[in-house]
């Protein structure tokens, strides 16, 4: 891992990140380096550390605090010996998702994708899958605001095409 072991605990190096809407965030270096996108910004460019502001074009400031919180907690989980009990990680993850709307979840997936952090992205995509699992087609459509642009004939044809998938499905 490239997270430099800066033992100077008195002054943790900070990196300034700029969200899509222009808001600045001061982030401890190791936390910022969890994001591959930020890390690649600094690779081979050590001087840049001091005062450069890293623009994060696809991340809205609304989601920055939560995302940073996720990195901080999960990197702490990873470092701890013995590893934290599964319940503790689960409790954190559940609390993380608790008040997030589907829309916020999607935006955060885009953000995690842009930041190129596998752990967060895997976690969020899993959460998205869980939210649409076992839901009827009509429900999923309404849930995510997908507009049905099939004609009734087309829709019937596709249903017939994948007949076995629609077997026994709730029609509400």
């Amino acid at each position: 891992m490239a997270s430099s072991s800066s033992s100077s605990s008195t002054q943790v190096k900070k990196i300034t990140l700029k969200a899509a809407d222009g808001k600045h965030f001061e982030v401890e270096e190791p936390v910022a380096m969890e994001m591959e996108t930020v890390k690649s910004f600094f690779v081979g460019n050590e001087d840049a550390m001091k005062d450069m502001v890293v623009p994060l074009l696809n991340v809205s400031s609304e989601h920055m605090p939560a995302i940073l919180d996720f990195y901080r907690n999960h990197s702490e989980f990873r470092k701890r010996t013995p590893p934290p009990p599964a319940e503790e990680v689960k409790a954190f993850n559940e609390a993380f998702l608790e008040n997030k709307s589907d829309e916020q979840l999607m935006e955060m997936i885009m953000a995690a994708n842009f930041l190129n952090t596998k752990e967060l992205l895997n976690f969020l995509t899993e959460a998205a899958a869980n939210r649409i699992k076992n839901k009827s087609v009509e429900y999923v459509r309404a849930f995510f605001g997908i507009e049905n642009d099939f004609t009734p004939e087309e829709e019937a044809r596709i249903r017939a095409e994948n007949e076995w998938a629609f077997d026994g499905l709730d029609e509400d």
Binding site: A20, D21, L57, N58, S60, E62, P82, D102, E103, M106, E107, I109, M110, N113, T125, E126, A128, A129, I132, K133, N134, K135, V137, V140, R141, F144, G145, I146, E147, N148, D149, F150, E155, I158, R159, E161, N162, W164, A165, F166, D167, G168, L169
Partner: protein
């Protein structure tokens, strides 16, 4: 355009949020669902019609298939295979819940093999499909509900395999079962039975994590001297969950595991008849013998689950004191009963004597001198619990 003044959306359209995700992310999300659910998204809109065909994971579970009959399930599975476009298949789950689909399973496994399958979980283990044996990319294999069939005695040729989990298989005695898995790192054996044999050897050159649950004999007769020999030069973590009376007696040999670091042994005695003192005594002495073998291990824990409560004997590092605690069911907290110096032979003897005395309920207990400062209160609590 649909506008919501209360929330800023600098980068996303309001409509159809999920469709705004890049294709690989959508197919990744669909891959995390049951395949039936994934196929259902074809009806969402024209844009969604073919997203599912790029899924990298196939998850077929007859048990979750609703009220469909086996014939429909079979048709669905084969239909999906013929319509899927993505080339690389990362993971396959195929659970048929006992409905016989041997020819279908063969087709699915062949398809998986051709598409570079890496991860397979299945309960279709009745007639071992030979195509499984030479999946060149397979790294994770989980074989469930073996119904105590014989684990194939013909050696696998799965050198790429790093994780193997098998449930309810009968393990052949004479053949060194896992030595052919040259890169196996994680091995989990659940509810496996061993035929009449004195020494059963688990030998794997790259094994790091070994978990064994409910390891027992085939048949009714128990052989006193079953010895589990673990010969794994890279083994670091060993977990054994044993359930009385199926487990005992068991002798463990870990002489060929020089870097074994952490060992957790759970023994559950919930089904143990209260009067069977002799059995309990044997069990305790076996457990102590096991611990003795493990004195060189860094972190060591033995938990004993009784109907009435749970006790734990553990130390976190080699130099740390060993704690003997009671685990409270309600709060999950530990109540310290006693602190012992490092686990070594003499201490174990004391613990063994103590536990056996507690078990047999013999009174008066002759407490080893070692325990003379053990508060009477705890002694009585222990006695009450164990009776």
């Amino acid at each position: 355009m649909n506008q919501q003044p209360t929330r800023k959306k600098p980068h996303l359209g309001v409509e159809d949020r999920l469709s705004n995700l890049p294709e690989p992310l959508i197919s990744h999300i669909l891959s995390l669902m049951d395949t039936k659910d994934a196929v259902q998204t074809s009806i969402l809109s024209t844009a969604w019609r073919y997203h599912w065909t790029n899924i990298h994971t196939l998850d077929f579970d007859y048990g979750k298939f609703g009220f469909c009959n086996p014939v429909r399930f079979r048709k669905f599975v084969l239909d999906v295979l013929s319509r899927r476009k993505g080339f690389h298949l990362h993971k396959l789950k195929l659970y048929c819940s006992g409905t016989t689909h041997v020819s279908m399973a063969r087709k699915v496994f062949n398809y998986a093999k051709l598409h570079g399958l890496e991860h397979l979980e299945t309960d279709m283990v009745g007639k071992f499909p030979t195509s499984l044996f030479d999946c060149r990319n397979l790294n994770t294999l989980k074989l469930d509900r073996g119904n105590w069939r014989d684990f194939p005695s013909k050696p696998f040729n799965l050198v790429t395999l790093t994780s193997l989990e098998i449930e309810a298989f009968r393990l052949p005695a004479k053949w060194n079962l896992f030595s052919g898995f040259l890169n196996l790192v994680n091995l989990t054996l659940i509810d496996c039975r061993v035929s009449m044999v004195v020494n059963f050897t688990i030998s794997a050159p790259s094994l790091v994590n070994l978990k064994i649950s409910r390891f027992h004999y085939w048949g009714k007769k128990m052989y006193r001297d079953l010895k589990l020999v673990i010969s794994a030069p890279k083994l670091e973590f060993l977990q054994m969950s044993l359930e009385h009376p199926l487990v005992y007696p068991l002798v463990l040999s870990v002489e060929n595991c020089p870097i074994l670091d952490q060992v957790n042994i759970h023994i559950y005695l919930n089904h143990c008849g209260t009067k069977d003192y002799k059995k309990r005594q044997t069990l305790i002495s076996d457990a102590m013998r096991m611990l003795e073998m493990l004195c060189h291990v860094n972190s060591l824990a033995l938990s004993l689950g009784f109907l009435q409560g749970k006790f734990l004997l553990y130390r976190n590092t080699r130099d740390a004191e060993t704690k003997f605690v009671e685990l409270y069911k309600e709060t999950g907290e530990e109540g310290l009963l006693y602190t012992l110096p490092m686990i070594c032979e003499s201490v174990l003897n004391h613990v063994s004597i103590l536990l056996q005395e507690l078990y047999t309920g013999k009174t008066p207990i002759i407490w080893p001198a070692y325990y003379k400062n053990w508060p009477a209160y705890y002694k009585n609590c222990l006695l009450d619990l164990l009776r």
